[in-house]
């Protein structure tokens, strides 16, 4: 049945679906990495992650010189600068990282200092998400914002991987998304596994008390982890926003749920798992026929549900939480 479904698509559309799947899957991956980093350090799901994703998209949009609509406090305002897209992407993501550190200071740290139940922190992170979404709405309204169509300068809108007779056109934005995500995943993998800093991060993640006995400043690593997590969310938000559009302040909420699905699929707290989970869900969605694209998410989550019946610890998870 699977085979006939694929054949009906024809060869070139299989190729297109795979590339599209890898592209969106790689964004899921970097977004989910942000979740998984915080989870592996604190054992808590940061529900503000989706809101930081949204925030990052708005930051980058603003930095490219994008104007706001008719609603909200900042109606019709825009920055006098027009940064090239890639600069805006990096700077917007850095700002998202800083926002994430602020969320840590306000919603996580005070509870951690009091030794509060992780469930309480989960609720306070949810509160932070609501605040961020509402502030965005207050400032810029809930309109849909679209990045300018010329964000990649002279690059064409799509590139043909096939022949003139049988074109396999892939949008440039998909290629950019995949390249940026692949680059980030590679850097992060190297950084976590092969540097002194990365090994210390793993130590904090496995056992924060022991890490502190080795002279590691655990609070500094927690701050850094939140920055990195927010940076990844900002990157993902900007990339998705530039590929489709920024669909209002609630933009990140559905994406956030999917990100949760990705880390559960890959194995909670597992870094390669987050990447694999992202690619699997992205590919699964890409193979949903266009007629049924409204059910894409349902299909992705159904897949997740079925997988968890077989492997409750996730694709790469062990029965206990495994780090990196």
């Amino acid at each position: 049945m699977q085979a006939s479904f694929l054949f009906n698509h024809g060869h070139h559309s299989i190729f297109t679906a795979i590339l599209n799947g890898l592209s969106i899957g790689s964004v899921y991956a970097i977004f989910a990495l942000g979740y998984t980093l915080v989870f592996s350090i604190l054992g808590i799901i940061n529900f503000a992650h989706g809101a930081i994703f949204t925030l990052g998209a708005y930051f980058s949009y603003t930095l490219t010189g994008g104007a706001f609509g008719f609603n909200g406090l900042l109606a019709n305002a825009s920055l006098p600068i027009h940064l090239p897209f890639l600069f805006a992407l990096v700077l917007g993501s850095i700002l998202a990282g800083i926002a994430s550190v602020i969320v840590e200071r306000l919603a996580f740290r005070p509870l951690r200092k009091r030794g509060a139940d992780p469930l309480l922190t989960l609720v306070s992170s949810l509160g932070a998400a609501v605040v961020i979404v509402n502030v965005i709405q207050y400032l810029v309204g809930s309109e849909i914002y679209t990045f300018p169509s010329d964000i990649y300068g002279r690059l064409p809108a799509s590139i043909n991987f096939g022949t003139v007779e049988r074109p396999i056109a892939i949008r440039t934005v998909q290629i950019v998304i995949f390249s940026v995500s692949a680059l980030i995943v590679s850097i992060l993998t190297y950084f976590i596994n092969f540097t002194r800093f990365g090994k210390a991060l793993q130590a904090v993640s496995e056992d924060a008390i022991t890490a502190s006995l080795l002279g590691i400043n655990t609070e500094k690593f927690i701050t850094f982890t939140f920055f990195l997590s927010g940076f990844l969310a900002g990157l993902a938000g900007t990339l998705v926003g530039s590929s489709v559009s920024i669909a209002g302040p609630y933009f990140g909420i559905a994406f956030g749920l999917k990100g949760l699905g990705v880390i559960v699929l890959g194995g909670l707290g597992n870094i390669p798992g987050a990447v694999l989970g992202g690619l699997v869900i992205g590919l699964a969605e890409a193979f949903v026929p266009a007629d049924y694209s409204g059910y894409k998410e349902a299909i992705a989550f159904a897949l997740l549900f079925m997988m968890l019946l077989v492997r409750p610890q996730g694709l790469l998870g062990r029965s206990v939480i495994q780090k990196v």
Binding site: K199, A200, Q202, I209, T210, S212, L213, L214, G215, V324
Partner: protein, 237 residues
């Protein structure tokens, strides 16, 4: 005598309503092995945790090399030269033996010195050398204890806190570990040793403190205590 390396003054620690330590006074001089013995739950581990700042002391002062460390975060205590091989060994089970040792030297930046010291630890504990690329979680209890001590030593501490290094280990391995402890002292490391095996502790240490239910009840030279009938009955069996 000169200024002690470690001086604990009137230290009390509470766990909620439970008083774990009451008004402890303790001194460790440079070059000594001092042991802290007592029954389970007497507050031995808590004393070490208070020094490395894993628990908050309610009252009192901890002076290291004349400097107050009572309010420092744990990682700064390590930077000052106090290493702690903790209760239950706490090796990083998902990292290799080598990575555990490298993290032991986290506070240092002398790459060559660290490398040489790690090789030195591998000579001291050949079992660790054989397993250098194995995950620490796969080691036996004795090997994990060796790793915990080697890792603590790699920060080049002036003061080494050892929590129950003999716990649950075969007698032969205990002998091996205690001979390493004596060697460490010879090479200039000051040691505060918490032990349940009082006999072994007294034969290794210069001086001894006895903790009973959170209070220090006796302090003496280790040799004298070995001869003391009362102590022999209570602790040495």
């Amino acid at each position: 005598m000169s200024q002690p390396l470690l001086e604990i003054k009137n230290l009390s620690v509470n766990y909620g309503a439970i008083e774990a330590l009451q008004d402890i006074n303790l001194v460790v001089h440079e070059g000594e092995i001092v042991t802290l013995i007592g029954a389970n739950g007497a507050g031995k581990s808590t004393t070490l945790k208070a020094i490395s700042r894993l628990v908050n002391s309610a009252w009192g002062q901890i002076l290291y090399d004349g400097r107050e460390v009572t309010r420092l975060p744990p990682h700064q205590v390590v930077q000052l030269g106090i290493a702690h091989s903790p209760e239950g060994r706490r090796v990083l089970s998902q990292q290799t033996v080598l990575a555990n040792l490298e993290l032991g030297a986290y506070t240092r930046s002398d790459r060559l010195g660290i490398k040489a010291d790690i090789e030195h630890q591998f000579l001291t504990f050949p079992r660790l050398a054989e397993r250098r690329n194995q995950l620490a979680g796969t080691l036996s209890g004795g090997e994990q204890q060796m790793l915990a001590i080697a890792r603590a030593v790699l920060s080049r501490p002036r003061l080494l806190l050892l929590d129950e290094p003999s716990l649950g280990l075969a007698p032969q391995i205990v002998q091996e570990i205690f001979s390493v402890i004596r060697h460490l002292r010879q090479s200039g490391t000051t040691i505060l040793l918490v032990e349940q095996n009082a006999n072994l502790a007294l034969r290794t240490a210069d001086r001894v403190y006895i903790l009973e239910a959170g209070r220090l009840t006796l302090t003496s030279a280790a040799v004298e205590l070995l001869r003391d009938e009362r102590v022999r009955k209570a602790y040495l069996g």
